[in-house]
Point group: C2
Chain length 211, copies 2
């Protein structure tokens, strides 16, 4: 059962704790997880390091990668490209690591279309009250920022059924363990073990023939 790693898409509402969950998983199980690093054409911000926050690319280099089909998914926001380079993901999966990818619904759909064995997780607060608090509770923000966040949340919510699992983030430590259990259990899915099944089926046939 020591197979390739699983590609994991993590989506969810703003403020649901996706980033924290991923960091905790990597801290607790560094041998089992890797974080996908995106490529982008936007300028590095202060403190951002090439190959840590992003792989920074020129527009030309990025478009060349698109032509070479070198992305698991990519999209254009506010005139900048963002994408998930295939090479790094494949490398980590081959090494047996589960690769975590934090993207929104549209990206999740693209990844699943390209790689049907991707595991889609949706992070959500435990109930409406907490959700509301996390979405609109930061009193320091402008009405405009809050409204934009609510509109995005409504869009994300529409796609919840397309995900495989809900990750309910009430208590962080509990949630990290649940998430880890969900991912670990996925390794035993029959459709992730077709080769093992085929071997067993053939072996049983051989035994019946007295071999």
């Amino acid at each position: 059962m020591k197979n390739k790693g699983i590609l994991i898409v993590l989506s969810g509402f703003s403020g649901a704790g996706k980033g924290t969950l991923m960091r905790r998983l990597l801290e607790l199980y560094p041998e089992e997880y890797a974080l996908s690093i995106s490529a982008t054409t936007r300028q590095p911000r202060k403190g951002e390091v090439e190959g840590r926050e992003y792989f920074f690319k020129s527009r030309e280099a990025f478009e060349e990668m698109i032509r070479e089909d070198a992305f698991v998914e990519y999209a254009c926001y506010v005139e900048n490209y963002y994408g998930t380079p295939k090479a790094y993901v494949e490398e980590q999966l081959a090494a047996g690591k589960n690769v975590l990818l934090e993207i929104e619904l549209q990206g999740a759909r693209k990844v699943r279309a390209k790689r049907p064995d991707t595991l889609l997780l949706f992070v959500t607060p435990p109930d409406a009250a907490t959700l509301k608090e996390r979405l609109i509770g930061r009193q320091t923000e402008s009405m405009e920022v809050i409204e934009a966040r609510l509109a995005r949340a409504a869009k994300e919510a529409e796609g919840m059924e397309e995900y495989d699992y809900l990750v309910v983030n009430d208590d962080l430590d509990t949630c990290v363990e649940e998430m880890h259990r969900i991912i670990s259990s996925e390794r035993f899915r029959t459709n992730r073990n077709t080769q093992l099944i085929e071997t067993i089926q053939n072996d049983v046939k051989q035994f019946s023939k007295g071999e």
Copy 2:
């Protein structure tokens, strides 16, 4: 997330340890699991207790239950009926318990057809050598018994892909924990949480309207 329990079908090769796995789960997590008890028309054997090994029924009573659609599945072996009474299963599920049901491929198909949310687990030894040992290794048995077991194993193996998960029984304690993790994680499947998802979707819409 305190939902109804999950109905779990456990199948697998003879000697793979299904009975032991179920007993250990019940010992370790008595609050979370219940064992489905079958009804049968065969005579009680020495030491068997009504409502523990089986619910013993007359042929007439069993056939009346069939007419009343009171079974999750039933079958006839060697002129005796065996079936899974619906009432007990529903009661346990409603109380939040996961109900374990040890049946073969044919029964598993019937249960899944009737209740698509049933979780199907297939128990298998870790590799071909162990499988062979468990299937044909008991030197005390007649060739006939061994051949019958191999023929049944070959049939069971054919249906492995129809199950949701493989439960690989190498070390018993590890296997019980893996099985428990698989079942616990299933509770977070989006298709087992459609009501929660609907609530969240509605709430997010309400927030957007400023309510």
